[in-house]
């Protein structure tokens, strides 16, 4: 009890220094947590992918299309429950800064395969009946203040021209992690236009989405689908939705690794700063430690005092940083919704934040603890005065 009291009082003996150290640890832990969350989010698309959906694309590359005529052959594969298809449209709203994903899809089968996109029956029906209509996610609608019945204009890039859609539905994600910043419209509408302007590109899709009866059937179905089109002009590559997402993530793997390295560097830097603070503290108190030893306190007592202070200081900063993570992530989610529509810090990240603070305390306390515990009394007493 006495030692805890002593540690707590020592903690704010040099108030400014301690506050600066605590704030430093808190900021480092906060940065560590946010960077880790960012990396986690990058992979979240893959993590939240359905285990019963497969994506089929051109085996050469995603930019090469597949004939829409593959549809019935894929549908006939045993184990397949539903097949949808679509194209990455790549339309621009206002300008490039207002980026969001927009796909031309076969609406009925697509919505059947994505039950996590929740629409009211009326909105769903209106969307299915109107070939020039579109639906958008709730976050996207909120960003641009869109309401049902609004006209949305996109400038085509892959499919040139001005494209106008009537907003017939605003879907909500079944889960918090569901993507709510997507615009979906009828593939038929796209295909009709393409047929008129560039007939050679008509009746082609960018991808198929295949619903499978059960997760254990996915590899069998994938193999069967790909074998169907073996040695054709457009061979296919079928993979799980997770693998499909990961193939995108892998393109930016180097950046993610760099961000992860930076998150660890932040902790390493604050470790050095905290170690310096603790070394300074121990150096200043050598006389006190010698006095305590003179009075009969043993090295273990001294080690507990110094180490305890180091741990307490870092943990205080760590807890503060972990607590600040909540308002910081909320702020990012609101203010930077365009880039981070879903920025939620996981329990694992919070635990890692506190653990990293603990690690800072342990590492920064080692040298001062050793110094404090092993000081020769006569040498320590000479420092006083």
């Amino acid at each position: 009890m006495f030692f805890l009291k002593y540690i707590l009082r020592n903690l704010f003996r040099h108030r400014l220094r301690s506050i600066l150290t605590v704030v430093g640890v808190a900021v480092a832990v906060l940065a560590f947590g946010l960077l880790r969350t960012l990396v986690g989010l990058w992979y979240s698309g893959a993590e939240h992918a359905s285990a019963t959906r497969l994506i089929t694309r051109n085996a050469i590359s995603l930019i090469f299309p597949l004939p829409v005529s593959y549809l019935e052959r894929i549908r006939a594969v045993p184990g397949v429950t539903e097949v949808s298809y679509g194209n990455w449209f790549g339309g621009i709203y206002i300008d490039e800064k207002h980026f969001f994903a927009n796909h031309a899809v076969e609406p009925k089968s697509y919505l059947d395969l994505y039950p996590e996109f929740v629409l009211s029956p009326k909105e769903k029906n209106d969307f299915l009946l109107d070939r020039k209509s579109c639906i958008v996610g709730a976050r996207l609608a909120k960003t641009y203040g869109w309401k049902i019945g609004d006209l949305i204009n996109l400038k085509g890039t892959i499919f040139p021209g001005q494209w106008e859609f009537v907003l017939r539905g605003i879907y909500h994600g079944a889960e918090r992690s569901t993507e709510e910043r997507v615009l979906l419209f009828h593939w038929d509408y796209l295909n009709e236009s393409v047929r008129k302007t560039t007939p050679l590109r008509a009746d082609q899709v960018g991808f198929y989405i295949i619903g499978v009866k059960s997760p254990d059937k996915t590899s069998e179905v994938a193999l069967t689908v790909d074998s169907l089109f073996k040695n054709s002009l457009a061979e296919t590559l079928t993979e799980t939705e997770k693998a499909f997402h990961l193939s995108f993530v892998s393109m930016t793997e180097a950046i993610m690794v760099a961000i992860q390295v930076v998150s660890y560097m932040v902790i390493a830097i604050i470790m050095v700063v905290a170690a310096n603070t603790m070394a300074m503290t121990a150096r200043e108190r050598i006389g006190e430690y010698a006095t305590l030893k003179t009075l009969g306190f043993k090295s273990g007592h001294l080690a507990f005092l110094v180490f305890g202070e180091s741990i307490a200081l870092s943990l205080l900063g760590g807890i503060l940083g972990a607590v600040l993570t909540f308002p910081a992530s909320r702020w990012i989610e609101v203010e930077l919704a365009q880039y981070f529509p879903y920025f939620s810090v996981s329990k694992e990240t919070l635990a890692l934040e506190v653990l990293s603070a603990l690690l800072v305390g342990v590492v920064s306390g080692i040298f001062p603890t050793w110094r404090g515990a092993t000081i020769r009394i006569a040498d320590g007493l000479r420092r006083i005065g």
Partner: protein, 231 residues
């Protein structure tokens, strides 16, 4: 050189030597010192800077170790004790008074005095009793909740004396206890130490430069170049 006294010696030093190393150079500090200190004695150790008086005090107090010779205190040969045994022995058998008081600034006078008792099996209430008694001996019962920074130099030294006597040790060692005090405060402290010798039969070994402080002692020993030169 042994003290002739009717009391049995509480401190018995024989053939004590100590030297320090500076690089390859060996600097002798104490050489072949032998003397006894009787129980209830107030001894002043005097000598010029570097004469080895503080080193001798540290050796007697068990906070430094000799190269050669023996120190027996109250029947315990402390030169044979391990570091942990020495720490335990110091906690119970010796009280320390320092030139700069060496109080812990974040602890109150009460908590500072309580420090040595934390190493004993005493319960909280018993510790409180001892601390209150020690602070009343030094006349600071009304300042027990004050921090060192809120006390004058003389008062801080009195707190340090209360801390030194709270475990009721037989020996008090004082290194320049008046060195940082004005004359009036120094006088108070010396009177208090004198009272401890007479009323509580404490043995005090004091290192001092100040002849006025040394005058209060029963016996003055001079150290010159590591040797006891005069009694």
């Amino acid at each position: 050189m042994e003290l002739e006294s009717s009391h049995p010696p509480i401190v018995s030093i024989r053939n004590l030597s100590k030297s320090y190393r500076r690089g390859n150079q060996v600097i002798p500090v104490l050489s072949g010192i032998s003397f006894d200190i009787a129980r209830g004695e107030f001894l002043a150790l005097m000598g010029p800077s570097g004469s080895g008086k503080s080193t001798l005090l540290n050796l007697i107090a068990g906070i430094d170790s000799a190269d050669q010779g023996t120190i027996e205190i109250g029947g315990v040969e402390i030169s044979r004790l391990s570091e942990n045994e020495l720490a335990h022995w110091r906690a119970l058998s010796v009280g320390f008074i320092f030139q700069f008081y060496n109080l812990i600034p974040v602890l109150t006078a009460f908590e500072n005095v309580e420090l040595p008792l934390l190493l004993t099996p005493l319960k909280r209430a018993e510790r409180r009793e001892h601390v209150v008694a020690a602070l009343s001996v030094v006349g600071l019962s009304d300042r027990m909740d004050h921090y060192p920074g809120q006390l004058s130099g003389g008062q801080q030294q009195r707190v340090a004396i209360a801390r030194a006597i709270v475990t009721d040790p037989d020996i008090l060692v004082a290194d320049e206890p008046t060195g940082d005090l004005d004359r009036a405060s120094a006088e108070e402290i010396l009177l208090l130490m004198d009272r401890l010798v007479h009323s509580s039969n404490k043995t005090i070994i004091m290192v001092t430069h100040d002849p006025r402080a040394a005058e209060k002692a029963h016996l003055i020993r001079h150290l010159e170049k590591g040797e006891l030169s005069e009694t």
